[in-house]
């Protein structure tokens, strides 16, 4: 699986510096990272470890201070709006907060129609579009007949997040970056969302990148795990190695802080900072 040729997205020496002078803050510090086709990777870190900044750089939402992003072996070029749009056809994201991911003034149909337009242009008749939209909705166990002509606020958080996945299903990007996709929804819908993302990977061969602070989730879904601390990649490798046999003290501490059910959760080591 990892023979070097099937790397779809990689970054070398990625660095992001915010502010200057005394306010200077290096959010991401010379991170090398590469994602293979069809693989699920997770970037794990506490709040403030720079994982979202790294994700935004990979997505091309913020500029890169130093380093380079390579997409399918070539240097990424998003210098013009047209090229950027072309890039975003290949890499898409699901964000943490489904409630603020939608334009509240636009109906759900428009969200999905935009995706069809972005993917295939204006070639379809209304019936064909309707067909596509119902297919995408049934992929995520939603009924399009119940959603059509509704506004986003009429849906629950889980439904909204699922609709986001339906959108991804229509776009069929090469890479899907999920930034804390399940942190705002409860444990039960979380299983549904994860199932759907896995199904998406199996059906369309999408490369999945999870950005999360939930180590249990990272361990459950991913093939490889990257651990970040204060902008630096401290540990990376195959999920089983990293989570079950952590080498670095930071990773060890992080894993011991997660409440578990089979092993004892040791609270006596807690010190108030």
């Amino acid at each position: 699986m990892t023979d070097g040729n099937d790397v779809v997205l990689s970054g070398s020496g990625l660095t992001k510096v915010f502010g200057m002078g005394r306010q200077r803050l290096t959010a991401v510090d010379h991170v090398d990272i590469s994602f293979h086709k069809g693989e699920i990777s997770s970037i794990v870190g506490e709040s403030g470890s720079g994982k979202t900044t790294l994700a935004k750089m990979l997505l091309g939402l913020i500029s890169v201070t130093e380093g380079e992003v390579y997409f399918q072996g070539k240097k990424r070029d998003i210098s013009t709006q047209r090229k950027r749009k072309e890039y975003w056809k290949n890499i898409q994201a699901i964000f943490q907060d489904p409630y603020s991911s939608y334009n509240i003034f636009r109906k759900i149909d428009t969200v999905l129609l935009d995706c069809i337009k972005m993917r295939n242009g204006n070639r379809y008749s209304y019936e064909e579009k309707y067909e596509l939209m119902s297919e995408a909705c049934s992929f995520v166990n939603l009924k399009f007949e119940e959603l059509t002509n509704k506004y986003p606020f009429e849906l629950s958080g889980g439904q909204m997040q699922r609709l986001m996945i339906a959108r991804i299903f229509l776009l069929k990007p090469k890479i899907l970056l999920a930034d804390e996709p399940t942190s705002m929804i409860d444990a039960c819908s979380r299983a549904t969302i994860l199932d759907m993302l896995m199904k998406l990977r199996d059906e369309t061969g999408t490369t999945l990148i999870f950005i999360t602070h939930d180590i249990g989730l990272a361990y459950y879904v991913s093939d490889s795990v990257y651990i970040m601390e204060h902008g630096v990649m401290v540990e990376s490798g195959c999920a089983d190695d990293v989570i079950l046999n952590p080498q670095k003290p930071y990773t060890k501490r992080l894993i011991s802080d997660v409440p578990k059910i089979h092993e004892e959760w040791d609270l006596s080591t807690v010190t108030y900072k």
């Binding site: 709040s47 409860d186 299983a191 939930d214 249990g216 089983d240 802080d257 578990k260």
Partner: protein, 335 residues
């Protein structure tokens, strides 16, 4: 048997919408919290966990209305009491509440000590500034919070620190029961551990007598509480000790819920997550009979025929299902 701090019998509360529809968000809930115990409430979003918390502390402001049942806090019946009276005499001293987004509950233009003054003066208008400061300092010391926090503004504190400060403020008057509603859902694991440690410390120091802990994070609930109640669509579907609820659930819904636990331990990757299909029922028109029937894998025609009563087992265990314990276990075995 130790003293019962909180006793709730058949509590029913409802929301009334603009169109005069009744939504029974808490439906005949009974529970008992003994001194020194903590009880966890688990369930999906929208199942009535937070409404139950508001109802328990008598916070009946429209659209929430009290319908029936009793709430007895340490011998004092507060059901049907005027909410303003409840606020003056019960909140803070008898029962305290940490809301879901407690970190955002602090007014950014006021210092932490001002919030403490507010709380104390609401119950004792004559308290002087110096007395309050001394008291707050002592309490903060005990809970491992630095004294300088008292003179800081909320924006100067980090998320975990803010959350711990809010907890310290809400228990400043030593309430008998603390209701913690998702106190750590917005925090990362390290701060979460600190918040949980602090809550358990409060119990150890005897500042609070007992605790009700609400969350949808089951591994956390398992580690923090003694008993777990699982709620679904306003009803309690299962009540058991933490260990029984997580490893040996009886009700099909609890079974599904416990199947969705993910922890970073070996063997988790091979286990298949069980997602419960479908969405909870709309409580505007609650379904006949079992609320869980339309999502249940093992549904039978008689499930929707009559309303389902709680079945009591030995110990303090109970569940709400038409089938017997043996039958359900048999069904799970064949899965």
């Amino acid at each position: 048997m130790s003293k019962v701090m909180l006793e709730v019998n058949n509590l029913t509360t409802k929301y009334v919408t603009r169109f005069h529809e009744n939504i029974y968000a808490v439906d005949h809930v009974s529970l008992k919290v003994e001194e020194g115990k903590s009880v966890g409430i688990a369930g999906e979003s929208g199942c009535g966990k937070s409404t139950l918390a508001l109802s328990l502390m008598g916070y009946y402001f429209p659209p929430l209305h009290y319908t029936s049942g009793e709430i007895i806090i340490d011998g004092q019946n507060i059901s049907g009491m005027d909410p303003d009276k409840v606020r003056k005499s019960i909140l803070g001293t008898e029962i305290a509440y940490i809301p879901q987004s407690a970190m955002n509950a602090l007014n950014p233009t006021r210092k932490i000590i001002h919030f403490i003054q507010d709380v104390i003066r609401a119950h004792d208008p004559k308290a002087t500034k110096e007395e309050i400061y001394e008291m707050a300092k002592e309490r903060f010391d005990l809970l491992g919070l630095p004294e300088k926090v008292l003179n800081q503004f909320p924006v100067e504190l980090s998320g975990g620190m803010k959350q711990r400060t809010v907890i310290a403020i809400s228990v400043i008057l030593c309430p008998k029961i603390l209701i913690a509603d998702e106190p750590s859902s917005a925090l990362d694991v390290t701060s979460q551990k600190m918040v949980i440690k602090m809550l358990l410390d409060l119990m150890d120091h005897g500042i609070i007598k007992s605790m009700i802990f609400i969350t949808h994070e089951l591994p956390l609930l398992y580690n923090v509480t003694d008993d777990i109640m699982v709620m679904y669509a306003g009803q309690i579907v299962e009540k058991a000790t933490a260990k029984e609820a997580v490893f040996d659930p009886i009700h099909p819904y609890s079974k599904g819920l416990m199947g969705s636990i993910i922890v970073p331990e070996s063997g988790v990757r091979d286990a298949k997550l069980t997602a419960i299909p479908g969405v909870p029922p709309n409580l505007k028109n609650p379904p006949e009979g079992c609320h869980f029937a339309e999502r249940c894998k093992y549904v039978q025609p008689q499930c929707t025929a009559q309303s389902i009563e709680l079945r009591h087992l030995e110990g303090d265990r109970s569940y709400r299902c038409i089938f017997s314990e043996e039958h359900l276990r048999e069904v799970y075995k064949n899965d």
